[in-house]
């Protein structure tokens, strides 16, 4: 399903950087960052500069057009003049492409479907792009990572309108899982395979919570960046999966990943998969929504409260808590994107099963289970939905291509929803001095200029995959001050200034409508993000009613029907004052 909707209003300001003049300094940076030249081609001073740029995660970005969200850097926050380089190729959004970056197949020991099973369901349920992410591990590194590729290549041919990436689900050393994927190309398997063999926490026996293992995770992200710099793959991305599930992604680890290479480490699942897991026993698995049902273990970060181990309105506590860890990163000016995925292994209501003889011994020997067979019965104890059936990650792009999806994710032109809550969301921050920015962008506005937030929503008018038309009954605006220096403790998970500033009743609204908010005159850097809901379930946020009077409610274990608790979340837009 395409979500093309030509915008009639002007996007002219997206190109406001086009006339930016580069200084001589920038030309040197461009040279040093150029991935066309190898280190040996450069003079010592240039190599030094390149290493500095690498440390800052810039090398390769300038020439490869890989700049992503810029967020707010310390220099920008100082705001003497607009001396920064531009933040990316912010062309007009022509497509909103819906996707899912977390999908398992028969090449995962806890899953069962063929690549084409997942891909054709995803396509039928409206996805434009998807990433196959089988679990990293000894068997996958040896066999699965190779075996899955021909199936992916074949699926690309069958489903010509669907972008099917190969990735893997990385066991992040010392931490949770994460999606790692690359742009298709001659070396996609080789890069993934080498990455898995050298940096997977399971393959390397590096799951424990040690500084060495944390360093291995950082090295893995940097290695991916180097593969892009060397043009072994055109692009690579990493997003953390189900980050709060077991409390083992500490705030300092998340910050370390992002800082390791901000071109590669771009975000996390704002909402985990397994959204059917909380359906009541008899009808469903009777487990916790998202399989978020655990308590802290020995590797858990002690600073997280018990509430962080549950999903809230289907979303991960890091994202669902206003003023929580996500906002803490955004309030630092650090770009960090959200996504929403299926994590499909075995789907609720599926009528197939693994074939006889597909046990762990055969999996380990063959690198995959046999193709699924018709079961002749309905599996209501499985906790997942098909890709596209419930969770969608919408990426704004300039074109329908692999590269554009990856660039859109990196730029942060992203909003996510559950149950097709809304048809489309466009978020724009506009300044009285003429500037305008969209999701993931940083609007540089003259100090004192008046800022407005314009949210354009197309209400849903076709049924979702549970055959009802969802109602968007409320939209919330969340705002927080940005200070790149406010975090002195890298384990901080609170953003003290961030709170819900507006709640708008949108019940009964149909068609496309616009919500306008006056954000006042800009004196200090800040960001805004937007959230909406069917408003069926709400409670004060974890940090109190003064921060979030009616946020998502904590999900009830064994009694969480995801279809009657729908939310959308958008990425932020930053605003920085300039002279």
């Amino acid at each position: 399903m395409s979500h093309e909707h030509p915008h009639s209003h002007s996007h002219g300001h997206d190109h406001s950087h086009a006339g930016h003049t580069h200084s001589h300094e920038v030309d040197e940076i461009t040279l040093a960052a150029s991935s066309d030249a190898s280190d040996s081609d450069l003079r010592p001073a240039e190599v030094t500069r390149r290493n500095l740029l690498r440390a800052a995660g810039i090398a390769g970005a300038v020439t490869a057009g890989m700049a992503g969200m810029t967020g707010v850097t310390p220099a920008m926050a100082e705001a003497a003049t607009v001396a920064t380089t531009k933040g990316g190729n912010r062309a007009t959004i022509r497509h909103w492409l819906a996707g899912d970056h977390h999908i398992h197949t028969q090449h995962s020991s806890d899953a069962m479907y063929r690549v084409i099973d997942q891909a054709q369901h995803g396509a039928a349920y409206g996805l434009d792009w998807l990433v196959i992410t089988d679990h990293g591990g000894a068997t996958h590194a040896k066999l699965g990572v190779d075996l899955v590729n021909p199936d992916i290549v074949a699926a690309r041919k069958v489903l010509k309108d669907t972008l099917i990436f190969q990735g893997l689900e990385w066991n992040i050393p010392a931490a949770e899982h994460g999606t790692v994927f690359v742009a298709p190309g001659a070396h996609e398997v080789a890069v993934l395979k080498q990455f898995e063999n050298d940096y997977d926490g399971s393959v390397k026996g590096a799951s424990g919570n040690t500084p060495q293992n944390e360093a291995l995770a950082v090295a893995g992200i940097q290695w991916l960046g180097k593969q892009v710099d060397k043009r072994r793959v055109a692009d690579a991305l990493f997003l953390a999966n189900h980050p709060a599930r077991n409390g083992i992604d500490s705030p300092h680890e998340v910050r370390a990943w992002r800082d390791a290479d901000p071109r590669i480490a771009v975000g996390w699942e704002g909402a985990p998969g397994h959204q059917a897991a909380g359906l009541p026993a008899g009808y469903g698995p009777g487990s916790a929504r998202g399989y978020y049902g655990n308590g802290p273990g020995p590797n858990s970060f002690p600073g997280y409260p018990a509430e962080s181990y549950r999903s809230w309105g289907g979303f991960d506590w890091f994202t669902s808590t206003v003023g929580g860890l996500w906002d803490s990163l955004l309030a630092e000016g650090k770009p960090w994107s959200i996504s929403a995925n299926s994590d499909s292994h075995v789907n609720w209501g599926t009528t197939s099963r693994r074939p006889d003889g597909s046990d762990s011994a055969s999996f380990n020997a063959n690198g995959r289970y046999g193709d699924p067979v018709y079961a002749g019965s309905l599996n209501t104890t499985a906790g997942d939905f098909w890709p596209g059936y419930y969770s969608r990650t919408h990426v704004g792009t300039t074109e329908r291509s692999y590269g554009a999806v990856m660039k859109g994710l990196r730029i942060g032109r992203v909003w996510v929803d559950h149950g097709a809550l809304v048809k489309s969301v466009d978020v724009r921050v506009v300044s009285s001095d003429g500037g305008s920015e969209s999701l993931g962008g940083t609007l540089k506005a003259k100090r004192g200029s008046r800022i407005s937030l314009v949210v354009t929503i197309a209400a849903q008018d076709v049924p979702n995959w549970s055959q009802f038309i969802p109602s968007l009954n409320r939209v919330d605006v969340i705002r927080g001050a940005v200070d790149p220096t406010y975090v002195t403790d890298r384990d901080t998970w609170k953003a003290p200034d961030t709170k819900v500033i507006e709640q708008t009743d949108t019940s009964g609204r149909t068609g496309t409508f616009q919500l306008r908010y006056d954000l006042g005159r800009v004196e200090e850097a800040f960001y805004v993000r937007v959230r909406g809901t069917d408003a069926n379930r709400s409670q004060p946020g974890y940090l109190g009613a003064s921060v979030d009077p009616a946020g998502p409610a904590i999900d009830v274990v064994g009694d969480a029907d995801p279809w009657v608790d729908l939310w959308f979340y958008t990425n932020p837009v930053w605003v920085v004052p300039t002279r």
Binding site: S108, G208, Y291, G293, G297, P298, Y542, V557, G558
Partner: protein
């Protein structure tokens, strides 16, 4: 007074529970209930794990107990020198796996009865759940209160059948068939 730590390199809650069961087997099922307290504590160095602390006020002397455990649990390290012991003694953290009143409250009970019948000082609700003394709790077969600031607290959450412990007996393993 015999307080000692037993370290069997338990890497998750299930492994810690297994260790507690093995301690039960060694310490004797024929003793009076509530004879000893076992709590589990996170120890970070050199590798994060859960260490059990056994506190047996009327039990054998430390030397005797250490010898017994060393003999019967050869793969565990029994020690008097562990940060887990200080934590258990100070009651600042740790989860209680064996404690006075456990078998009385590990059933369908009420908030008030838990405090009366066991060492638990307070029952608290997750995410702002307010509790009344008569509220029913289903603690059937498993309740693991925790030490916090010198008090023993049992955290409960809402579930399909009502209020149940926040820490459930069956933790959901990752990368397994769910």
């Amino acid at each position: 007074m015999s307080t000692l730590a037993v370290d069997a390199d338990a890497r998750d809650l299930a492994a810690a529970e297994h260790l507690v069961h093995r301690l039960d087997e060694v310490l004797g099922a024929d003793g009076p209930e509530d004879a000893y307290v076992i709590s589990t504590h996170v120890v970070q160095e050199p590798t994060a794990r859960l260490v059990a602390v056994l506190d047996w006020p009327g039990g054998p002397a430390v030397e005797e107990l250490t010898a017994l455990l060393a003999d019967r649990l050869p793969d565990a390290y029994v020690t008097l020198d562990s940060p887990a012991i200080a934590e258990a003694t100070a009651r600042t953290a740790g989860r209680l796996a064996r404690y006075p009143g456990r078998t009385r409250i590990e059933t369908v009970t009420t908030v008030a009865a838990v405090a009366t019948d066991s060492v638990v000082d307070a029952v608290e609700g997750l995410a702002g759940i307010t509790l009344a003394p008569d509220d029913a709790l289903d603690l059937t077969g498993f309740a693991r209160p925790v030490w916090r600031e010198g008090r023993c607290v049992l955290l409960v959450q809402r579930a399909a059948g009502g209020l149940v412990p926040f820490e459930m007996r069956h933790q959901i393993p990752c990368c397994s068939d769910h």
